[in-house]
Symmetry: D2
Subunit: 391 residues, 4 copies
């Protein structure tokens, strides 16, 4: 039902799209109640990278993998990067972890104890050293810091401590490196989270400088938050650095992106396309950050990559001229209809065609299942300790 | 149970406290389903001011009244200000209204039609002229602008239009005048609100300059938002200009402040006290913005002023040294207990004593009921059109 | 991408589908801040019915119109029903209104004053008399009753009063008549709503008897509520009587159904199809209950009917055998994929074909715009008072 | 400020109050991100019971302890009950656990696999056998069952399976035993939870019979849910069996009861007192269900017991006659003021006096710290495996 005068452009844009997958998404994860183990789960950073490379092999759209330190700690990061390149993928963002050491019970960089703050900040600096070795551009910072009870600590003092740690970290960045500063409404902190919303992250980033940008995790907002508004606003302010894609019905459910609200994902990608911010050259890192607690991990990640592609294809099909005209004339229903026309289009044939043209299987999930990879890893990785959040 | 070494200081702080009441709070209001009229409701700006002066007479803490233009439009604003002063109150913030004209169906300053944007912006400028006449310092800006359907208008274009209108308005401000920029999650817009959260308001204020500050309406957030965090953060950024106090269980219910969650109000006032921001000299305008749909209006406003006073008194009673010590040592329960000790204290005797010392009745509500004012206005205002949101 | 072995069955099911439109949806509506008037809006119950008949003429799927008493009060309801039948539509549910009289400030059937309770209950009984005249089967009961402040009234006493009024009403029902008991989280009551959730409505319906059933308004839940679960559960309990369809991002936004979350609407219709409850013979009344505050009313209602049809078509296309098999085998991703396959299908061509086969224009919106009806009503209805909430 | 004509009655009611503490509350717990271990945490069911007895020793109000099977599995439950009695406490509710076995990845009693359903149901039956040995009256059932993705399993089939398991369990109950059926909005299931709200639990309990009652966990609702309404409604329906007390700002935060919203706790206890349901003879089991992730466990539980006592004392101080009179007369502010008068009263002196009269230390927290118990358990329990979720 849609006029496709520039199908070639649409395909070109889809071909240029890059989605980064997370090493921890291949490993066991769960809720506080239970981590259900899965067969074939990787036992090492290298095996996680191999899985990521497999996802890229079947989708053609996931050429980098984010690491999580210390979950992916190795002796030789240069060797790890070479190993990845050998499998056809690059090391992407380096994620820090200052929430799983006993010292961090009352916070990491915002802890009232300066010794613990020092330890946490040193970990952030160490991550930049790893970036130097892996060639990573992005340092992703998520802090679980916060307090559980009113009065437990001073809200403002904690902001001062946070700002100090961020400043030290920012100053250590190389010229081509940058900070992606994530925010989250709650969990694991249950009263105050020190970086609870985009406004807090934005304000710190503005103070830090132009190489500090906001990372939007699509599952980290209060119910009712309009995420595409935040996307549009940060794009306008030139402060949108990355996405952590996932979906949720309730809190930070970390379900597959596009699974809970595919229309929301489309609206987000629509703002990206509207701002010409899809191309990797623009600089936004489109990452997945998900927990496949009960579903098969590699197929789930392939599905997630495809979901982002489908939402993007629909956004690319929006008739921008017709939309703008209806908007300018205040035609509410007509403008909405232009957007919905694109959303209601079945773009799966287009993406299948694109894949076929690029030498990929038009159905990446089926191709993965036929490939024997799953059987192989289940056999090979039967022994040893499965990687997981605490691993 | 609390040690009160500096009771004199506590009383001095309470004596200095100023709460501004809103002219529209004395008038009829309601929901979209029904406005229930009340007897004795004012029929003119002067009668609203008389009611506000009555609240101040019984509380001693509400010496100014905010106006809403055009609800409070008069021929001679200088005369209105003198009338107010004659009754012992000052004209406070001037509130603009760009949401009740048919032209604003698709927005005011963010409307796609430049003619309507011009009209809306002119209203904002007119409000500053009124401020010049009333001697008001604060221009309060709330925009109902937004869209109801995805695609209806361009999110980013609307931000550009908003920024342009704010810039013109800011540039018109006198040296001692300032903007209070309000935000609201939703209602009356149901998909995008152009100023939906504190971050958006903050970012615009930073771009405008130091005389633009954020106004926090305590009923304008998503469920689960930690308001006292926003208070503490904006204080740190020196961008907190005002409160619109009210309370809610669900959305923007506009109930009496402190009625729905008195502990939250205490936590908010605790951040104010912690930052030494209570004194009028600091510059925060503590306003009420409420709708007394079913309860008697003047007693409800007196009760609201008292609720803010009680929360403030409790915040002033927090043992800051003990709190800081427990916080520094990471004693979670002890720090929380210090805060709760103050909250659990019954401060009503203290406030009654303070009033008595100041020549006020210790029980303002009872004194109001005994005064005959209600009977008088019900008799005098029986004729004529009651003021209301559309009046 | 979907195998359609039973396309004839799908079409038959779609042809049988009935959606009831609300008389008040054709009239002016708004928020508490402003009602924006629209040209051509009906001035009488008859004109509302004419508009509803027009929607049916272009969609073929909206053969009945719900009335709201007293907004649609007429002298002769039999004549009104005949008038409707003459235009090709039937009078559907009768909606009561016990929220717009000054007496109902503190409640209607739950008011502490027995005189007001009597008056409210009498209105409910009167509505059944109207049903007798219009041949309506359904009495829809929505109560705005509740309290705004803790302590304002006794929660349990109000339940007793509610139960008493419902009992009297139920006992007055004719054999072929029934109660649709609506619930709502909040608004206009802001602390307790006396019928706040499906559980309360369900419990009262169980006590009343089998002719009392629950009406689900899709905009009346807390954020995060899984509505399709409620649908499935009430179907299992044989207590689902009706829907009030609309959509929302925040609270009871009353936007066009399917506009805010089309995937949710699909999931709801999926439960209906799964339970074989789509056919009118099953007895569920699929009604719209929306407010077209800023968009053109008749086209908005046509669009809403089409949105329900599209969601239904997708639900009918779910491969039930494949779904069940994947579910039984615990194949999480496969089962989800079966559902998503149907959702991702573009069903607009199928519905266009169906309409063409039935002698309708395949594009009802375009056909309406070409028909001249809008121009006609704007010309004819220029004089007189537009109908609206409270009119 | 409150008239206390029946202080003796208030004290008697407070003396009769019983709060059950949970064995798992004494053990290590955490979020999915991290479990922070604490010194002195129990290593066995016996040590948990010893801690519970300690809480009772200092509060005089916590004479029973709930067990969680299999976390508290022992060889000889009769011996365990005798051990508890020897320490002055009784074994309370038996909690089942069908969420931590690998088999339960896709559900326990609602699992599509009948073999797993059988296993889960058998565990429920086993728990009743344990109750026979411990003399417990209450079987608490919480199911983590649900699905994460639309289509993953059939919502209605799962209800049928749930009903079947509940029926078998109910039929196995002894005459003096009963089911407490808990519900929860989400977590660990993220799309559908099979028992998501009070309505679902209530409907199942009605079908089961009179020995099945609803358990309200105060942290298991959507934001904005009015919990005291549910309390009042279930009391009216005679189906309120128990509370799982805790508090939260966001989701199921499991903070100390009364910490997040003390006014809500007061309103809940107010409904209990209003219905004369406080006395143990009425049959409601007032349990704590909390996770002390970062704060000291035993002091946190003592504080929680005290918080419930304080909220109860305030509820007992409500002037019921004045309240009813103001309610009947429709005096909104006056009725609210009667309730708030009680809430604003500082009841700590009253409770301190009560404790002193009963031979307890007026300050249980200080007394605990002075007692040396904490130092003793930290020394004695240094070796061995600390108990925790999953231990």
């Amino acid at each position: 039902m849609i006029d496709l005068p520039d199908l070639a452009q649409v395909k070109a844009a889809l071909r240029a799209q890059r989605i980064e997958t997370p090493s921890w998404g291949y490993a066991n994860s769960g809720t506080r109640f239970k981590v259900f183990p899965q067969a074939g789960v990787p036992r090492s950073p290298e095996e996680k990278i191999a899985d990521a490379a497999t996802v890229h092999r079947f989708t053609g759209a996931a050429p980098s993998v984010a690491l999580h330190i210390p979950w992916d700690k190795v002796e030789d990061y240069g060797a790890l990067a070479r190993y990845a390149r050998g499998l056809g993928v690059a090391i992407g963002a380096i994620n820090t972890n200052v929430f799983q050491d006993n010292d961090y019970r009352l916070g990491s960089v915002t802890n009232p104890d300066p010794v613990i703050r020092r330890k946490a900040t040193d970990h952030l600096l160490e991550a930049i050293s790893i970036m130097d070795l892996t060639g990573s551009r992005d340092l992703k910072l998520w802090f679980s810091d916060g307090i559980n009870y009113p009065g437990q600590d001073d809200i403002r003092d904690r902001q001062d401590r946070l700002a100090a740690a961020l400043r030290q970290t920012y100053d250590r960045l190389g010229e081509d490196q940058r900070i992606l500063l994530e925010y989250k409404l709650f969990e694991p902190a249950f009263y105050v989270t020190d970086l609870p919303d985009w406004g807090t992250s934005y304000a710190h980033c503005v103070e830090l400088g132009e190489r500090a940008t906001v990372c939007i995790d699509t599952g980290h907002h209060a119910q009712g938050t309009n995420i595409e508004f935040i996307v549009a606003f940060l794009l306008r302010q030139n402060k949108l650095g990355a996405f952590d894609f996932n979906s949720r019905f309730y809190a930070d459910d970390d379900l597959m992106v596009g699974a809970a609200d595919p229309f929301q994902l489309f609206r987000i990608m629509n703002e990206i396309v509207r701002a010409d911010a899809l191309d990797p050259a623009y600089g936004i890192n489109f990452m997945l950050d998900q927990c496949h607690n009960i579903e098969a991990k590699i197929p789930a990640i392939i599905r997630s990559v495809m979901n982002v592609q489908e939402a993007t294809a629909k956004a690319l099909l929006v008739d921008r001229d017709a939309l703008r005209e209806a908007q300018q004339e205040g035609k509410v229903l007509e403008a909405n209809a232009v957007l919905m026309d694109a959303y209601n289009t079945d773009v799966r044939p287009l993406l299948a065609e694109l894949r076929a043209e690029d030498g990929l299987d038009p159905d990446p999930i089926a191709a993965y299942h036929r490939s024997g990879y799953q059987q192989q890893i289940e056999a090979e990785r039967a022994e040893g300790r499965q990687a997981g959040w605490g691993a």
